[in-house]
């Protein structure tokens, strides 16, 4: 192309080199973000069967996208350098080239077909109903926390989901208020929790590990949308069963004096109106998270704080400061009341 122009080889080679270097740097950026180390919510390291299936399509589409990117960028740069204005230069006058136009209509058609075939074959698997042996979980989005129910096991928990490895899990997605979206990038693509509808997704986690899989609400849901995080723990079958047994039972009753006083305070401060603590008489509120096994969780305030006594105190003394807009009111608790409640809550294994 354009061989008659002086310096054209330099322009072409230079352009290709520049586009190559830029593409390499961008690829490094993608590779880094796709690395689980340091990126706990990366979408590039699938840890479930369906996520791996989708990953195959994702990789293919990324490669196609990269090829188009390199091609168009290189052509744009080469043409810009090669055909820039020169003294005495002449523009070649032509209106088009039918053969060329047919060719470059076919190129995008082929690319799109190459995308469509694996896309639709993947969907034919992932959109099937969940296998019969799947563990049933109901994930209910609330402004701004997650409620997880195991209807077959009689367990209700908040913001932390326990799953056994290598067993399919079928998640029924619901919402109690606005639209939320359930997203654990390593386990599955996101599906929305739409009020008035029930959506479903299923996957089989393939790796048990101590670190949690991080999830977050992905659909803008109001003031504290950013604070609507959750964790998924994938454990061995034995560990899961042990957890389920404990979680299905009542709370561990407080033994220390301070914690016992906290139990009283829990009633006196009106916490029972909104929260359930299985085994504590009168504590059967359904508005806020079930706290029966609060101390078995690693976080509080929808995954925004680690569960430490100091953080529990911080939360209780002014919930609005941690999660703006949260329904839980500031109870203006005295320091003594805080001491008692922290002791009580931190003992609810």
């Amino acid at each position: 192309m354009g061989g008659s122009r002086p310096g054209s080889m330099i322009a072409i080679i230079g352009s290709l080199a520049l586009v190559g270097v830029v593409s390499f740097l961008l690829w490094m950026g993608f590779a880094d973000s796709g690395d689980f180390a340091g990126h706990p919510m990366t979408t590039w390291v699938p840890k479930s069967d369906n996520a791996s299936l989708v990953h195959g399509v994702y990789q293919l589409i990324f490669i196609l996208a990269g090829a188009v990117f390199v091609g168009i960028m290189a052509l744009t740069l080469i043409f810009s350098l090669l055909y820039r204005e020169r003294p005495g230069g002449e523009a070649r006058q032509f209106h088009g080239n039918s053969r060329l136009e047919v060719v470059w209509t076919l190129i995008p058609v082929l690319i799109v077909v190459a995308m469509a075939v694996p896309t639709f074959s993947t969907m034919s698997v992932t959109s099937k109903p969940a296998p019969d042996n799947a563990l049933k979980v109901v994930a209910i989005g609330h402004q701004w926390w997650w409620e997880f129910q195991y209807p077959e096991l009689g367990i209700t928990t908040a913001n932390e989901l326990y799953l056994p490895v290598n067993r399919p899990v079928s998640v029924a997605l619901q919402s109690s208020d606005v639209i939320h979206s359930f997203w654990v990038p390593q386990l599955s693509g996101k599906i929305d929790n739409v009020p008035g509808h029930e959506n479903h997704l299923w996957f089989t986690p393939t790796e048990a590990r101590a670190e949690p899989y991080l999830g977050q609400c992905a659909e803008f849901c109001g003031l504290s949308h950013a604070n609507m995080r959750f964790r998924v723990f994938v454990a061995s079958t034995g560990d899961f069963e042990a957890w389920a047994k404990s979680a299905a039972g009542d709370r561990t009753a407080p033994t220390a004096d301070l914690a016992k006083a906290g139990e009283q305070q829990f009633v006196a401060s009106g916490c029972v109106a909104c929260h359930t603590v299985k085994g504590q008489a009168g504590a059967a509120g359904k508005i806020g998270p079930d706290l029966s096994h609060f101390a078995a969780r690693t976080t509080l305030a929808s995954g925004t704080l680690d569960r430490t006594p100091a953080n529990i105190r911080k939360w209780l003394s002014n919930p609005q400061a941690v999660k703006p807009g949260v329904l839980m009111p500031n109870l203006n608790l005295s320091p003594e009341a805080l001491d008692k409640l922290v002791a009580y809550l931190d003992g609810l294994k």
């Binding site: 993608f30 996208a65 810009s80 209509t105 190129i107 849901c221």
Partner: protein, 600 residues
């Protein structure tokens, strides 16, 4: 900017405020649209910079959650409805009659009315900041978060009323443009000789004419939900939030093409002129544009892949979305074909056009990527999508509009913008834009959801957020360089002449800025590139006849009165019914006076 406004159109002796308020001259109206759109663009840019500043570091404390939500919502609304669309409308107003060889648009007073209603809507929407809080539910206002139950402040009511007012303005402007293009062409200007820019405007006009009524219905229903207690979109009493999403995106997706097609048109004008050769594959580009317009109505649900549409609709909308990638690809190849073999003059307008090709391609690629529903499960509502829309809307629409600024500013003002500052402007914007938006791909891949006002350290999002924020500052500086360039240019003597670029279209044959009546003699068009044809065939300009009495429509203040009535109706819809009645009376009075006003 006032000086720019004045100089862009000092085509009439009368320059007082009243003459601007009553003008029906498409060039003056276009100038006001452009300047107002640019000022709103600066405002939207300020909101963006604030959003980026909040996200620069983990657990940022610059904005609180509510303010952040207002800012990102208003950023989108401002950029889309008050920035890009009006800047486009400015070009449409100014150049449709010049390009098709007409003396004005088909309905000059209706044109003025569109302008005043647009300004009313823009001011109304922004006044919400001072009247109880701006809209905070995102620009697509998903129900039921936009319902009175979950959005108690009046912000979302402002959103509803503001968009209704702006929609009315766009609808009237689009009707006007469509009729002008189809019906006001100079002799010989057949449809297949129309400049590509005008073709794209025609497609845009029809997209708006056919999609705005759907949004209007949705907004009216949302208004009924919020104010009169119906529940079209609230599930608690049988309504359906998914219906809002369908209605919104039946409008919203064509709207994306409304934003990008004008810039595709501008690039299709600039590249051939600067390459000094005809556009490669004119018919293909025109048909691809029309195909994008038609297909654009059949892809809306790809915004809803994660809402539980079911596999069959997913496959249908996935396939249609992939299909729309084909005409888009054709256009990119045709622009490259236009550059091929040219002798390209690299002025700032060319830089922005070539920049458009590169950056829009990136947005196009990521767009086709999330046509695949499984992949969209990762992209949807993540920063990958934020990157995508900004490569399309900034890398595409805004780069194209800036190319248009540099290309047409000499025609509008008689002065060439400074080239050195222009190139500085381009490079700061180009670098800033890529620094801001490319890292968002990485953030999306690393799982960062969009619209979060805060995030924790340790997610691997810190570095790229900081880079993006720095990029947004560079970008803002780049835009300021443009402002400086305009101010500097307006201080010098006119130096552009009629035709600084060797243009092919009709506007370059007349003085800069053009006289009020545009053409002394309505030109006769013999080719797709009329001026080049005349040049190559030695056809001299038609001499001006001796008694050349050209009658132009007289100014009118009735558009202003009708717009005032519409504004009152809108204010009433936000406050009390009595004001609606007053507004209706004012509007009817204005229309009556309008109808009886002599126009000869």
């Amino acid at each position: 900017m006032a000086t720019a406004l004045g100089a862009m159109t000092h085509t009439q002796e009368d320059t007082g405020l009243w003459s601007w308020l009553t003008t029906v001259d498409h060039k003056r109206i276009g100038a006001v649209y452009t300047v107002a759109g640019f000022l709103f663009f600066l405002l939207g840019g300020f909101e963006a910079v604030m959003v980026r500043t909040q996200l620069a570091v983990p657990n940022g404390t610059v904005l609180d959650a509510d303010r952040y939500n207002q800012f990102f919502t208003m950023h989108a609304l401002t950029m889309i409805f008050l920035g890009v669309m009006p800047m486009g409308a400015g070009f449409f107003n100014y150049f449709i009659p010049l390009h098709v060889g007409a003396r004005d648009v088909a309905f000059p007073r209706l044109n003025a009315l569109s302008l005043w209603i647009f300004l009313s809507g823009g001011i109304l929407l922004n006044s919400s900041f001072f009247l109880g809080g701006a809209p905070n539910g995102g620009w697509f206002g998903y129900a039921p978060l936009s319902s009175i139950e979950y959005a108690k402040s009046s912000g979302m009511t402002f959103y509803v009323v503001g968009l209704l007012v702006l929609g009315l303005s766009s609808l009237m402007a689009s009707l006007n443009f469509a009729v002008t293009i189809i019906n006001m062409r100079a002799p010989g200007m057949s449809m297949m000789r129309l400049p590509v820019f005008i073709w794209m405007v025609l497609v845009v006009a029809f997209l708006l004419i056919l999609s705005l009524p759907v949004l209007t219905v949705g907004l009216l229903q949302l208004y009924f939900d919020r104010v009169w207690g119906t529940s079209f979109f609230s599930p608690s009493t049988g309504g359906d939030p998914i219906l809002w999403q369908h209605i919104f995106w039946i409008f919203g997706h064509p709207e994306v093409y409304v934003l990008i097609l004008p810039s595709m048109g501008i690039v299709s004008e600039v590249l051939p002129v600067m390459s000094k050769k005809p556009l490669f594959g004119y018919s293909a580009i025109v048909f691809a544009g029309a195909a994008i317009g038609v297909l654009g109505f059949g892809v809306w649900a790809h915004h809803m892949f994660t809402t539980g549409l079911g596999p069959v609709p997913q496959v249908v909308f996935s396939a249609s979305t992939m299909a729309i990638g084909v005409p888009t690809g054709i256009k990119i190849f045709n622009w490259l074909g236009t550059m091929y073999g040219g002798n390209i003059r690299f002025v700032t307008a060319t830089y922005f056009s070539v920049g458009f090709i590169a950056l829009f391609t990136i947005g196009g690629i990521s767009g086709v990527m999330h046509a695949s529903p499984p992949v969209d499960g990762h992209h949807q509502d993540s920063y990958f999508v934020v990157a995508h829309i900004h490569y399309v809307l900034f890398g595409g629409a805004i780069m194209g509009i800036f190319s248009g600024f540099y290309y047409w500013f000499p025609k509008m003002s008689g002065r060439l913008l400074d080239e050195a500052l222009g190139k500085l402007n381009f490079w700061t914007m180009f670098v800033g834009m890529n620094l801001t938006f490319f890292p968002m791909h990485f953030l999306g891949l690393a799982g960062m959801p969009r619209r979060i006002y805060t995030y924790d350290a340790g997610m691997g999002w810190d570095t790229w957020n900081m880079v993006a924020t720095i990029g947004s500052y560079i970008l803002a500086i780049g835009v300021l360089v443009f402002v400086v360039n305009v101010i500097k240019t307006m201080r010098k003597e006119p130096d552009a002449g009629n035709d600084p670029w060797g243009g092919a279209t009709l506007e370059w044959a007349i003085p800069s800025p053009p006289p009020a009546h545009n053409f002394d003699v309505v030109p006769e068009v013999r080719d797709r590139d009329p001026l080049w044809y005349n040049r190559d065939h030695g056809i001299a300009p038609t001499p001006v006849p001796e008694h050349n009495h050209i009658h132009m429509p007289p100014p009118s203040y009735f558009p202003l009165i009708v717009a005032l009535g519409v504004l009152l109706i809108a204010v009433g819809a936000l406050s009390t019914l009595a004001i609606v009645g007053l507004g209706a009376v004012v509007s009817v009075y204005g229309i009556w006076g309008w109808a009886l006003e002599p126009t000869d």
